[in-house]
Amino acid sequence: MPSSPLLFFLLFLCFFCTQLSCTETEVQALLAWRSSLKDPGCLTQNWTSNNISTDPCQWRGIKCNETGSIISLSILSCQIDGTLDKFNFSSFPNLTRLEMVGNENLHGGIPKEIGTLHNLQFLDLRFNNLVGEIPVTISNLSNLEDLDLSFNLLTGAIPSAILNMSGLHSLDLGLNNLTGQIPRTIGNMFNLEELSLNGNYINGAIPREIEHLNKLTGLYLYKNELSGQIPLEIGNMTELQIADLSDNKLQGNIPATIAQLPNLSELDLENNQLNGTVPPYLGNNSNLEWIMLSNNDFIGTFPPLLCRSGKLKYLWATKNSFNSLLPITLKNCSSLIELDLSDNNIRADVSQTFGEHPNLSIINLSENRFYGRLPSNWVKNIMILSLQDNRLRGDIPKELANSTSLVILNLSNNNFSSLPLIQAPTLQSLHVSNNKLTGEFPLLQQNWTNLVTLDIGKNNFYGEMPSWIGSSFPVLKILRLGSNMFEGYIPPKLSMLNNLRLLDFSNNNLKGPIPHVLSHMHSMVVKTITNDSYIDLYFNSTVYEESIDFMWKGVEATYQETIALLTGIDLSCNAFSGEIPEDLMKLQGLISLNLSRNQLSGMIPHNIGNLTSLEVLDLSMNLLSGTIPPSILNLTGLDALNLSHNKLTGQIPSGPQLQTFNLSAFSYNDGLCGFPLPNNCLTHNNSIVPLLRNEARHKKLEVIWIICSVILGYVTGFWAYFGALYWKISLRFVVFHFTDKMQDKMMKWCGRYLH
């Protein structure tokens, strides 16, 4: 017993000592780890003191408790280069908060010693380059409440011991390379409020045990390979606010129980293989703000109570098989901001389905069977209005044409019958093609500083093209006026369209020559190298993608992804006359040149080979004459050629690309010869001499002259001789006398010789 005070003193000393050595060990551990790093980054600066003592509690990113022991360690975007292998975790028994975030050169694995941080409550190692598996020892951290290992390169399956930690409030393992399945033990994590496993390769089904997570507000399982059905039990997760299961391989129906979730505000099921009808009571019991159902196989109608809470802002359901939309669903939904129902089978009257939506800025109903007339005041502050490929009819409201917010207006492929003059200064894209619109050119003259696409083709517009068309569209890239009744001449100022890439005036009544100034279109001179963004919307939207219909390679197709690469001129089916300007051959960016079905004459320009990007050349059904220029052999990218129905002559040039075209490319040209036509050309010494039409005619004339002169010579000679004999008697005597004398002489000579 006399030793007891000594014992106490010793214990006290030891305690004090251990405290001191705790702090000392902590500093030593930090410095030892720092010196193990290849590059300590900001730690060189952060982990220094002004005084001589090495008290880490003054250092940046480090917090201590009253006894001077480290409780929090923060290393954020520090540019350290190294691993955690030499980090002595067991030296920090009081650490409650450890975060090392945003160090792209922090690599290697998470050491299992991390499990010795018994007091750890908060562990954040995201945005590093950590590899290997998640150490099971983390499950020993019984005080851990928040665990974030996202944005690393972790592999392997999530240990079931981790998905069993009942103390965890939030778990984020997103954006790694994790595989395996979600273990059933997840049901034990009843304190979990947020679960993020997104952006991995997790497969298998969502376990039913998930229903026990009755404190979970955020469930993020998107971008994985989850399969099977969404468990019915999801309806028991009463605190659930956000459920993002998108980009997986989920199948089956949405369980009807989901409609009973009282707090659900965001439901994202996009890009799965779900089918069936959406539970009809969805929206009845919750505060739905975001509903994403796109790219599945849903059928039927939309749940009528979807907007019951009056909070629905975003409804995306494109690429499904919905076939109806009841008026009750959206008519009074004034909270709506974005609506995408495109590419479905919805048959509904648009004037009954919608009411007033003052917040609606983006609406895409394209590729459906909406019918009826557009209500005039339904989209006041609209930015994107995409209604193409429906059965809408009637007038296009004036309010739309004068909108000061409209950026994209696409009404193509409908039955609209009238279009007021458009004066919408913010407009970047206008598509009204394939309707029953009539009248003169629909735009008002103004400075259309934003218009990139103008597509009014396939209507009944008439009159002349306005002369100001060149000077009012500084950024216009696509001008499609084809299949209308425009007449008159191409305005010369058209060449001022410096950004124009695609020009389609086909199928109209335009006349006159093809103006030389067309060759000044700068954007067509340059070869398009990159598929840059075609249209720059000043806001972010994934709901609308610009596209254009283009007749190319013999078929009219819709070009969306490659719209920025299209460079072409289509003037076919008009009454253009005169020659094809040689200057047009400067447009080296052209991939398609169609001048067919006009009255163009003269020769094909000799430098046609300059158009090296050309894939399609159609000059058929004109009055072109002369030979096919040999430079056409330079068009090594040509995959469609039509020169038929002209007056071309001579030998068809011979080359590898040209030989891939058959008879139909050259037929109905009387003077054309050589492969692939059956008639051979006239050649001399096996050399290919292209006979010009004029040369041939000259040769013919030559022959005729020769024959004529010969005959004339014979006739003149004959009549000169015998004529003289006939008319002049004295001559006759002289000639006959001479002949007799010669005859005597000949007889004498023969007689002497014979004897």
Binding site: A557, E561, T562, T636, A640, Q659
Partner: protein, 215 residues
């Protein structure tokens, strides 16, 4: 009754599997995409080749027929290098394969013989080596075969003389050996078609015993 059901249904399934449309157009897009993955394309000629599209018919340098089957591939003079993948054999309706004046390397795939509608093959002016595949003799519609200016070696397959529609053949400037067939369409080809093959021994001598110099 039930006894007959099983074999009947399996026969039905078998028949159906043979009559069902063989390859969807998207698989032709997949084949082209796989081909592209092996190639180096510094001029970005293939940037329009988007495999997420429903078919490759809107891709540049690809032409389809009315049924959305690829019939032409025109990539001449495009500065492309790399091997010509075996996936080319999936383009079953291909008629024109124009890949001349590039830097294609490696061997000519045997799968070219699967493309029975081929009318023209132009792989001239590349860096191809190895032998001319015998499978080319299956291409009954072939009219133009240009393989000149490569590094092809081995013999000219005698079976090529079976290609009765062959109008033009150019194998010049290679490293071929053995003899040149003289029957069938080979009787019409001028000697320039085989020029500059230093190990080529000239026309074969047809006699009782075939002269095979081996190579």
């Amino acid at each position: 009754m039930a006894i007959w059901f099983l074999p009947f249904s399996s026969v039905l399934l078998l028949v159906l599997s043979f009559t069902s449309p063989v390859i969807s157009s998207n698989s032709e897009g997949d084949a082209l995409h796989a081909l592209r993955a092996k190639l180096s394309d510094p001029n970005n000629v293939l940037q329009s080749w988007d495999p997420t599209l429903i078919n490759p018919c809107t891709w540049f340098h690809v032409t389809c027929d009315n049924n959305n089957r690829v019939i032409r591939l025109d990539l001449g003079n495009s500065n492309i290098s790399g091997p010509l993948g075996v996936e080319i054999g999936h383009l079953e309706h291909l008629q024109f394969l124009e890949l001349y004046r590039n830097k294609f390397e490696g061997k000519l795939p045997d799968e070219l013989g699967n493309l029975k509608y081929l009318i023209s093959i132009d792989l001239s002016e590349n860096n191809l080596h190895g032998a001319i595949p015998k499978s080319l003799s299956k291409l009954k519609s072939l009219r133009f075969l240009r393989l000149n200016d490569n590094k092809l070696s081995g013999p000219i397959p005698r079976e090529l003389s079976l290609l009765s529609n062959l109008k033009a053949l150019n194998l010049s400037n290679n490293d071929l050996c053995g003899t040149v067939p003289t029957d069938g369409p080979f009787s019409t080809f001028p000697p320039q078609s085989f020029a500059n093959n230093t190990r080529l021994n000239g026309p074969e001598l047809l006699g009782l015993a075939p002269y095979d110099f081996g190579c």
